[in-house]
């Protein structure tokens, strides 16, 4: 923990992410109080239904329908971050459960479970996800969102399972586990209380790096029109709208794009910092 705080870049990353997250959570409410704009507020006056460049009224400009870009970017932030975090949690839960059971059980069960993982690994996931999203759920925005959680969570649990299994196997034969078994602690308790907390290190590092990766995937899918649907917005879908008019109204793409890049940048630095801090071999002078 000490080491992490000493890593100035990681701290910077945490600060940035906190600011953005905070803005995403309470920003839209504040903006609404101040100006009455929401992400889907289309001005009644037809003259205002077009894209304006950034100004005092609209710090990030407006989109083609006259909607305030700042509000949309903040909403996009909410959705993108939410997708990233929830999907990662989904994959964490599934992966940890799978990997811990396989690693602890050993033998045939372990073989079987990891065989399944190997087979699933060979599937071109993104293709299946594209098919899934294109064919189902484009009917309601919420439905699409739930589908996204599941699909994206399913993409990364495999690696998580492998990591957890590796950790469990190396911990399994260490003394404190043998002691627990010798005193008759039931297996599931051993897994939950002893093994899981000790595998936390690499798992946390992986999860922290997974969030930006999943956010990127969601953004890709939304960019292709398969992810988040209107009237909701995520940074990816905003970019997809923005790219249409890149020549004339570049701010429609630049603001969501830069905000997203900044967020991912910071998240990656945090993940890196965590990994360095937990790595026993690194000795800085």
């Amino acid at each position: 923990m000490r080491r992490l705080v000493r890593n100035r870049v990681a701290v910077f990353g945490m600060v940035v992410v906190s600011i953005i997250a905070l803005a995403a959570i309470i920003g839209p409410a504040l903006i609404f109080r101040a100006t009455g704009y929401t992400y889907d507020y289309i001005p009644a006056d037809p003259d205002l239904v077009k894209s304006f460049a950034p100004s005092w009224m609209h710090p990030m400009g407006t989109d083609n329908e006259g909607r305030d870009m700042l509000a949309r970017v903040l909403l996009g932030g909410r959705i993108s971050l939410m997708v990233g975090i929830i999907s990662t949690i989904v994959s964490l839960v599934i992966g940890t459960a799978w990997g811990a059971t396989a690693g602890y059980a050993g033998g045939k069960l372990d073989e079987l479970m990891m065989r399944i993982v190997d087979i699933l690994f060979a599937i071109p996931y993104m293709m299946v996800v594209i098919v899934l999203l294109a064919l189902f759920g484009r009917h309601t925005a919420m439905g699409q969102l739930v589908l996204l959680f599941i699909a994206l969570g399913a993409v990364s649990w495999l690696t998580m399972a492998r990591i957890v299994r590796g950790q469990v196997i190396s911990l399994k034969n260490q003394e404190f586990i043998l002691a627990a078994r010798a005193t008759g602690v039931p297996k599931w308790k051993i897994i939950l209380r002893h093994l899981v907390p000790n595998t936390l290190g690499p798992v946390i590092v992986y999860a922290t790096l997974e969030v930006p990766a999943v956010m990127l995937l969601e953004a890709f899918l939304s960019f292709l029109g398969l992810g988040v649907q209107a009237p909701l917005a995520s940074w990816g879908s905003l970019a997809s709208e923005g790219i249409q008019n890149i020549a004339v109204f570049p701010w429609q793409l630049i603001f969501p794009g830069v905000t997203m890049a900044l967020t991912l940048f910071s998240l990656n630095f945090i993940g890196d910092g965590l990994r360095d801090a937990l790595d026993p071999q690194m000795k800085k002078s």
Binding site: I119, A122, I123, P124, Y125, M126, M127, V128, I130, V131, L132, A134, L135, F136, P212, L216, L217, A219, F220, F223, L224, G236, A239, S240, G242, I243, I246, A247, P250, L253, I254, G257, V258, M260, A261, L262, L264, F265, N268, F269, D272, Q281
Partner: protein, 317 residues
């Protein structure tokens, strides 16, 4: 000595054959999964805004064999797939799926391969320099740059490059495809390669740093070898292994990346066709592309595993 090499070679051959054979059931599994998804999805490919009169619908279903029980249709689909016969596209009247594949694949493949080759070149070189000049300005700046490369999404980078190079400097066309050896290929390849350049640079750097800490490098130094000889002859082989490991997952990523890049630059590649096929529920085309890509990925993973055996002599299959 020759006896030993021949033995190893037969083992390798058997391994390759075993893997190739296991590719077939894998592909069939993926195709079945996709088929299942398509059939489970609500609606069908011919539904439009208004419902069709029942008689016409009945004719359509008969024409496409949709009136037979599902397991019959499934069996037919599997046997067709096994023979690599995917029929004709539903949307692009009269064009066989295979023709479309043959036309679109080279576009995507060349952009992808070129992008990956470029990223290997730049990534490995800068990773090597960063490792050798550890903790120097070069190291920090190239690592920060690579962090940027990972964080800026492709669909942000692409348009920015277009804004700058196409619409301001007029060096490259913004959204056109003339062929791989033309100027229109530069921006797509560049856009796609940046993220991999970044990953490869970081992996090379960390792989090399790890290796440079090992005992056998200390032995090499104790023998009086120069730093260059040590880095290039002794450390490189071990240090490059993480990059080889990356290639497998990178392929999967290249696919999504290509889809996005093709959208931005309007390239007539597999990605575009796949996306449209999904939106149009063009079942034969969807299945054809899925099968094709699966085979490609599995073969490439096999090549990567074979490459491992060449790099690390301890590996024996």
């Amino acid at each position: 000595m020759e006896r030993r090499c021949a033995g190893a070679q037969t083992l390798m051959l058997r391994f390759v054959i075993r893997r190739l054979l296991s590719t077939i059931p894998m592909v069939l599994v993926v195709v079945s999964l996709t088929w299942g998804l398509i059939r489970l999805a609500p609606g069908s490919f011919y539904t439009g805004e208004k419902a069709l009169p029942p008689a016409i619908e009945k004719n359509l279903r008969a024409k496409y064999g949709l009136d037979k029980p599902w397991y019959v249709q499934y069996a037919k689909m599997i046997s067709n797939t096994a023979r690599l016969d995917f029929g004709s596209s539903l949307k692009y009247e009269g064009q066989s799926v295979n023709t479309i594949l043959m036309r679109a694949f080279p576009v995507s493949a060349m952009v992808g391969l070129l992008a990956y080759a470029l990223s290997l070149l730049v990534g490995i070189t800068s990773g090597l320099f960063a490792a050798v000049r550890h903790n120097s300005k070069w190291d920090y700046s190239s690592m920060t740059l690579s962090m940027l490369g990972i964080s800026v999404p492709t669909f942000v980078l692409g348009p920015i490059l277009v804004l700058f190079f196409s619409l301001s400097l007029y060096w490259f066309p913004p959204a056109r495809w003339d062929g791989i050896a033309t100027r229109s290929a530069v921006l797509p390849v560049l856009t796609l390669s940046v993220i991999y350049m970044a990953y490869i640079a970081r992996l090379t750097r960390s792989g090399m740093l790890e290796v440079l800490r090992s005992d056998y490098i200390r032995t090499a130094r104790a023998k009086g070898l120069s730093e260059t000889a040590i880095v290039l002859k002794h450390a490189f082989r071990g240090g490059i292994i993480p990059v080889v490991s990356l290639t497998g997952p990178a392929l999967a990523g290249l696919i999504t990346g290509t889809v996005v890049v093709e959208r931005i630059f309007v390239l007539p590649g597999l990605g575009t066709y796949f996306l449209n096929a999904n939106l149009n529920r063009d079942e034969p085309l969807i299945l054809g592309i899925v099968a094709f890509i699966s085979i490609t990925i599995l073969v490439c993973n096999l090549l990567v595993d074979v490459a491992y055996a060449f790099i690390d002599p301890r590996i024996r299959y």
